[in-house]
């Protein structure tokens, strides 16, 4: 980029002599400029270059998406049943055991049904999921007494009620991450709203808001949650998914209610700083409305703390849920949760698989998320050269 000859005096310079950047692109031999890129996209590209973090991200994302298929991949309920010339889809519809001629009350035992059909060889068959055990199924017909040690059938063993640990870990992974993400979403949403208002409007609102946050954040989180959990009895709504149990949402709300302050302070600071910059003045002069200034102009410039703290907040949320489940104040009883499994491990220290696998799953998940966080922080670091590349 060159400009007009600096030696010419002000009055003589015709502005036409300005050479604009695009003309350089037509000069032969000068490479054309790369296409325009927003700062966010640039940072994402930087993030992708940090391989450890990026692969951790892909792995966690893949596992998380796959874990939504758990009811179809890991379940004691058959995918498809062929019985007396008719097809049944037990994954989507509930059938009585008597439908298939089983002498049981309630849900049929599909694994037994499969064996029975194979023995009879009468044209009936059962298609089971890849891993044919459900998360809440007590496998009491296994030899010995629960917890059962790992075997080919159950590679991670069973817990003290005879439930398959692999299945419970897989379902628990989905619940843990869903929980952590929802808490993050609610806490950050609240934090951004309040932080933006405090930083943008300032004055008495800011003063009062800050004092309120100081008081609120001095409440002991664990005691509060224990008191609330012990007072509120979980209501089980029959026929609903476990995720929709009120206690799950209650936990999310309580956790979010104690977590929004951290991000609020950062967003407040960001808004405070950004508001004094000229582009905000320009937006006011242009006549942009206040909400649009806050959320279209300032917020995109204040996203850095939000994004770079998010992975670490997720780690904290997973940890918090595990801790609450471990103490017995978390999700209601049959829910597959990591904290509950770790609690079992503590009660049965000699059963190594009950200690090792849940803790291992927790550790590796948290480690992967921390890798992501590290890479995100690195990618959002305005300094050009750094350690992780």
């Amino acid at each position: 980029m060159t400009q007009a000859d600096p030696e010419q005096s002000i009055s003589k310079v015709a502005a036409d002599t300005a050479v604009v950047a695009h003309e350089w692109q037509q000069v032969p031999g000068v490479p054309t400029q790369p296409a325009s890129e927003s700062i966010l996209r640039k940072r994402f590209r930087k993030f992708r270059r940090i391989r450890r973090g990026y692969w951790s991200f892909l792995l966690i994302l893949g596992l998380y998406l796959a874990s939504f298929l758990c009811p179809y991949l890991m379940n004691g309920t058959a995918w498809l049943v062929r019985y007396e010339g008719q097809f049944y889809l037990p994954t989507f519809t509930y059938y009585q055991a008597s439908t298939f001629g089983q002498e049981l009350f309630g849900e049929p035992d599909y694994r037994a049904l499969k064996e029975q059909f194979e023995k009879e060889n009468a044209g009936n068959w059962v298609l089971m999921p890849l891993y044919p055990y459900g998360p809440n199924e007590a496998l009491l017909d296994l030899p010995g007494s629960p917890p059962h040690a790992p075997s080919w059938e159950h590679p991670l063993g069973t817990d003290d009620r005879g439930r398959d640990i692999l299945v419970r870990l897989a379902y628990g992974f989905n619940i843990s991450l869903t929980f952590a993400l929802l808490v993050l979403l609610i806490a950050d949403g609240t934090g951004v709203m309040i932080g933006a208002a405090l930083g943008f409007f300032g004055g008495k609102l800011d003063l009062l808001g800050q004092r309120f946050i100081e008081i609120w954040s001095s409440l002991p989180f664990l005691y509060t949650i224990i008191i609330i959990s012990s007072v509120v009895v979980p209501v089980y709504i029959p026929g609903r998914m476990q995720v929709l149990q009120p206690s799950f949402w209650l936990l999310i709300v309580i956790l979010a209610a104690f977590e929004w302050m951290a991000i609020t302070y950062y967003i407040r600071g960001e808004f405070y700083r950004e508001k004094s910059r000229d582009y905000v003045a320009a937006a006011i002069v242009t006549g942009v409305s206040q909400p649009a200034i806050m959320f279209r102009h300032i917020l995109p410039n204040s996203m850095t703390p939000l994004i770079s703290f998010a992975p670490f907040t997720i780690v904290a949320n997973i940890g918090a849920l595990v801790a609450l489940d471990f103490l017995g104040f978390g999700l209601p009883a049959p829910t597959p949760s990591w904290g509950e499994l770790i609690g079992q491990g503590m009660e049965n220290l000699t059963k190594w698989w009950l200690v090792f696998f849940p803790l291992g799953a927790l550790f590796s998940t948290l480690l992967l998320v921390v890798f992501i966080g590290e890479a995100v922080r690195e990618a959002f670091d305005p300094k050009e050269y750094s350690r992780l590349r």
Binding site: A4, I10, S11, Y279, I284, G287
Partner: protein
């Protein structure tokens, strides 16, 4: 009454920033940023507002476009900013942000720092388009066309609309700022030190561009600067400010060649000159 070609009148403008302190915060003292300033801007003319840094000239500019209250919640403003539009006269300072909106398209501002005055997350096209989206009912295609036209007017390439501000030099960014200010066909442009962040050669480009645009669109400028030589070049009328007051005002050449006030003389003597002999004479 005022002459028919008057477009903007500032009458006895006072701007004070109170200073709070103490355990129980209360007003302790105040900074008088602007202390009784009056100006009259005629259609198609330029007023140069000069003074040292901190003398309140930027605050005058910001008071005229009425953004002080929106930027800073603690400010006392007195006086009147009378805008003479087609249907009459309105005191801009008495308007809230919502009522102010319909006059926003007539009064625009070019900012001092081309690096912070453009939102780094928006493309140049989006930046220039924003005033159009707010003040006109143009379709998307019409707005795109207008952005292209504006970019050409400020001698940038229409292809630049897809770029982000960080890809431009200071002079180019300032021209983007000018394009944004011109988007809605304003009548008055407040230029708040539009060239002081640029180096001398680019200053000339930007100033010549502003003059060309003034001729083409009949703009009226209030040109704020601390640089007397720049102001003299563009202004019809110069107001010299010191400590929140206008100490000298008059036609540009008069103020420049026959400075009356002591402060103006000091200010003029401070202008760097390529001829060392003359400078020594001035000092003596």
């Amino acid at each position: 009454m005022t002459a028919p070609d008057v477009i903007l009148e500032v009458q006895d403008l006072h701007v004070r920033f109170p200073i709070y302190g103490g355990i129980i915060p209360r007003k302790k003292s105040e900074v008088r940023a602007v202390d009784g300033v009056s100006l009259t801007l005629h259609r198609g003319k330029t007023i140069g507002l000069v003074g040292e840094s901190g003398c309140g000239k930027t605050t005058v500019g910001r008071a005229i476009v009425n953004i002080l209250r929106a930027m800073n919640y603690r400010v006392d403003i007195e006086g009147k900013v009378l805008y003479h539009h087609a249907d009459g006269v309105v005191d801009l300072l008495s308007l809230g942000q919502r009522q102010m909106r319909k006059y926003r398209s007539d009064l625009q501002m070019v900012f001092q720092d081309p690096y912070s005055s453009l939102n780094p997350r928006m493309t140049v096209g989006a930046i220039i388009e924003e005033p159009l989206r707010i003040h006109t009912k143009q379709s998307k295609a019409e707005r795109k066309e207008r952005v292209r036209w504006l970019l050409e007017k400020v001698r940038l390439s229409p292809a630049h609309a897809a770029r982000y501000p960080h890809e431009f030099s200071g002079g180019q960014r300032q021209r983007i700022g000018i394009a944004r200010a011109l988007a809605t066909n304003p009548k008055i442009v407040i230029a708040d030190e539009p060239v002081s962040a640029l180096d001398v050669s680019i200053q000339a480009q930007v100033i010549n561009l502003m003059q060309d645009l003034q001729e083409e669109f009949g703009l009226s400028y209030i040109f704020v600067s601390h640089d007397l030589s720049v102001v003299r070049h563009i202004s019809d009328y110069i107001c010299v400010m010191s400590r929140g007051k206008i100490v000298e005002a008059g036609p540009a050449d008069d103020v420049y060649s026959r400075p009356q006030h002591e402060y103006t003389q000091t200010l003029l003597a401070a202008v760097p000159r390529p001829d060392p002999d003359r400078r020594i004479k001035r000092r003596a």
